[in-house]
Amino acid sequence: MFEHDFLALFPEIFLINATIILLIYGVVFSTSKKYDYPPLVRNAGWLGLLSVPTTTPLVAVGSPLTVANLVYNNSIIDNSTYFCQIFLLLSTASTTVMCLDYFKQESSNAFESIVSILPPTRSMPFMISAYDSIATYLAIEPQSLCFYVIAASKRDSEFSTEAGSKYFLSGAFPPGILLFGCSMIYGFTGATNFEELAKIFTGYEITLFGAQSSGIFMGISFIAVGFSSKITAVPSHMWAPDVYEGSPTIVTAFPPIAPKISIPANMLRVSIYSFYDPTWQQLFSFRSIASMILGALAAMAQNKVKRLLAYSSIGHVGYLSIGFSCGTIEGIQSLLIGIFIHVLMTVNASAMVLALRRNRFEYVADLGALARTNPILAITSSITTFPYAGIPPLAGSCSKFYLFFAALGCGAYSLAPIGVVTSVISCFYYIRFVKIMYSDTPKTWILYKPMDREKSLLPAITVFFITFFSPYPSPSFLVTHQMALGPCL
């Protein structure tokens, strides 16, 4: 009954076993008197890092020829999940690379903070391939639980504990709302499986006034709200800046990267496949407009780097939501390209923030005269900020352009102008980075410690991708088109 399932779930099984082995290894040796209680953070970090990229070829080897339903129709494997999972594993691996030096410098001895990166890494592929609302919920929870633990891991810092509890409280509500939505849907349809729901909702009009059942309307709205607070879209974004600011930088690096892949992937499955209805996309439109405006305006007032990154990530969620609000194949494709490029840029930016972190790198003004103390880093950071702003020859402009193009193509004529205007506004504070680095002379010169080799690879690779994306974008366009066809067909 399950033989083929075990083959298809081999990456997840591998990751679970790797987590267990790493946990036991760490706890046995870190408490051993014989080895003088060694701090195993870096060691466990390397082993954890090894296990994540090892999983990637396992996913690739198990690439499906067609669609496969697994575990009693609870999860599905097709092209979109396959590419999403590979990309997710790569991004998690890059986050782990960032961790390696961080924990050593912070002299944190808790190897568990590395080990607790692996359970989310395992549950996010489940989330990507989830094909049932219960499976979705069960996959959301472990990923958030581990993030709460890591966010509150610096027990001697007030900011970290505060951020951890805030993250926990604000992170516990959205799955609750989502769960309430799922139970409304289940109560009114008697189905939790996405395929059955898709059959039920074919030709069903989900508007508030045209609805045959207001319970279903409520259920879908609750699901949308639950999802959107998980990806910090605007009406429910409040926690993000404080959490990003307070928690350890490595946590700041993780939530904007990995869940930004897994949660939209699942939202695609839900919103495009199960509850596909153009009227419902108004929710996404509103969310998108609000996020773009708030992201652009609120980030202008920020002086702290991590808050600024948080607001810019909120703004980018707005741009990505344009893709949802179209609901066309072009829209989904542009959304996937947008996620891909956003994650690349965020990996880059987080690696920068982590590299400069040593001397209390907190305020944007601390970047002053970086062009003279560390010219290559200054060039790299300016190259990073330009695609965030969407300045033409780089990757970020490609993704934004394609999103606006999809919005115009599907007739969402209000989204594209707002997107363009907010992206012009956001140029202000992105270019302010460059101005600070190149023309400001600060009172105190801050000399940063050089980056370690592992971390320095990340900006190098991502800057290469960002710069050379537009000359040869066809592979990613092909891949994302194929992915977009997955939930649509």
Binding site: L23, I24, V27, V28
Partner: protein, 118 residues
């Protein structure tokens, strides 16, 4: 319907316990004439030495947390244990995987020293 006797038990046991508390007050000698010495906190005869608030030991949290975890494991073991004939070897091995994962958790807890009480 089998719960009805339990409900009756509950209803009867409440006044019974109230009666057994209340009867003693009927026969108590100097009811309501407590003097300060009698109302003070009992600390082996001497006066209380310092503030009653003390730093709370973290172990009193660790033990409940682990018991919550293993309670939930037991909760899922109950439906597994009742029909062993119906689920076959597959059901057996599924639960074995489940309990071995939580065993890993308790091994971690044990090696970490969370179960030590001095």
């Amino acid at each position: 319907m089998e719960f009805a006797p339990i409900l009756v038990y509950l209803v009867i046991s409440l006044p019974l316990s109230l009666i057994s508390i209340g009867v003693s007050s009927l026969f108590a000698s100097s009811f309501g004439s407590a003097y300060p010495e009698k109302l003070s906190a009992h600390e082996c005869g001497s006066d209380p030495s310092d503030d009653a608030r003390s730093r709370f030991d973290i172990r009193f949290y660790l033990v409940p947390i682990s018991s919550i975890i293993f309670d939930s494991e037991v909760t899922s073991l109950f439906p597994w244990a009742v029909p062993p004939n119906n689920i076959g070897l597959f059901g057996f091995w599924s639960m074995t995987v489940f309990s071995s994962i939580s065993t890993i958790g308790s091994v971690h807890e044990w090696k970490k020293g969370a179960l030590d009480w001095e």
